[in-house]
Symmetry: C2
């Protein structure tokens, strides 16, 4: 079954997740779509990670173009009958471009066919680099209050902390937004031990990858930036050989 | 930087995520590891999805073998110096084999090198098939109470519902466990409108894939089984052309 937006136009817009960075972390489907595309559109930083796919293509890259403009350009280009790949780092369906593309297509009555090609999100790639922190119920929360009221973000942080979710924090800190991660840590400390393992993965699988295993008490002593994802363990999470592991519950049932 | 368990033994155990089902949904890294492996171990259902990778390999497949035994066999085989791929559907780091492998390695003082090769989890693949439901903060909750007390699961469902997380429900129903999804729906109805969009994806990208777009009020009228993932939208989620879309907040800021 093909699931898309019922687009009847001639062109196709594929929103392609390229994963965390290394080309090897892309899916075969993502590679295939990029190879077949007439036009590849994306934020410069992401396009620079996939140079081999750009050769011989019409490439629309921009450092400064905003997400909304980029999606509009992609939709308009697909509407002319071309096969367009709009590149998204990570998974376009998780805090990325998929939703915005559909919102804009709806507003503009664009009739191209739209498909989402999933990729490894930060939660997938960062968890693998840290060991096995996401083995049990988890929450993903973005600390960016550009598009979301901070009160709602705090409410979600408190709910995740209180209900003992492993918690992956997206957009933990930028140059201008420095207080949110401090407040997030305070909220978790109200519900969880200071020794709770915390992993910080920056630029997973890229050349400048950095992996830090720390704990709630000490986490702010480590570098956290724009390319970082922070994973806070639950009450059962432990560290072993500098890995972070959340047990699933087998040990209680089977006596490992 | 290579991040693993500091294993000093000769063999390597790669825990490989094969994604939702279709070979095209695997990463290049996962394909490469399977091609290089001396031994491939996995649950029969998952191995049947990747026949091309098994040719000429030592394959250890079993219908009945339990997870704990399968991981122990994989660790012991890697300890003999072989390169072993332990196959996991989805992403081994999300409700799957990664944590159990590390727990058992720790208990048995196994010295093989262990690496986790992430794959598309159900959240990635099901979201892409439904449209764009996971564009904002979300929670993943398993309804299986085999290894987790039901009280804790209910607490997490209530927290996710109350704090307006989009919520992905893993293991919603099995032949024996039929009441949990009924109770989960009741908990969400206490905090969210009956019209809240709900997506049910069964066997994503496989031959028997089934995609249902429904709402909280009606969700129990649709088939939900062992291979299903249920995604419940947040208060802003809407449907369009039989897709489920959660806005990120751009419309408030930019007037789309």
């Amino acid at each position: 079954m093909e699931k898309c937006n019922n687009g009847s136009g001639r062109g196709t817009l594929s929103v392609v997740g390229t994963g965390p960075g290394a080309v090897k972390q892309m899916t075969l489907a993502a590679c295939e779509v990029l190879e077949k595309a007439d036009v590849i559109i994306g934020y410069k930083t992401y396009l620079e990670l996939i140079p081999a796919f750009l050769e011989g293509k019409e490439v629309i890259s921009s450092e400064m173009m905003k997400e909304v403009d980029r999606c509009r350009t992609a939709l308009a280009t697909a509407e002319t009958g071309k096969n367009v790949a709009l590149v998204s780092g990570g998974d376009p369906g998780i805090y990325a471009m998929a939703g915005l593309v559909y919102e804009l297509a709806r507003e503009s009555a664009n009739s191209c066919r739209i498909e989402i090609i999933p990729g490894l999100a930060a939660i997938n790639s960062c968890a693998a680099r840290l060991g096995a922190p996401l083995m049990h119920d988890f929450a993903a929360i973005s600390l960016s209050d550009l598009l979301t009221p901070w009160d709602l973000i705090e409410k979600r942080l408190a709910a995740a902390a209180m209900a003992d979710f492993v918690t992956a924090i997206y957009n933990p800190r930028s140059k201008r937004r420095t207080d949110q991660i401090v407040r997030a840590r305070e909220i978790f400390l109200a519900h969880r031990a200071a020794t709770t393992p915390v992993g910080i993965v920056t630029a997973a699988t890229r050349e400048n990858e950095k992996i830090t295993v720390t704990c709630l008490a000490d986490m702010l002593e480590s570098e956290i930036g724009m390319q970082s994802t922070v994973i806070i363990g639950n009450s059962q999470t432990f560290t072993w050989n500098d890995l972070i592991i959340t047990p699933r519950g087998y040990s209680g049932k089977y006596r490992l």
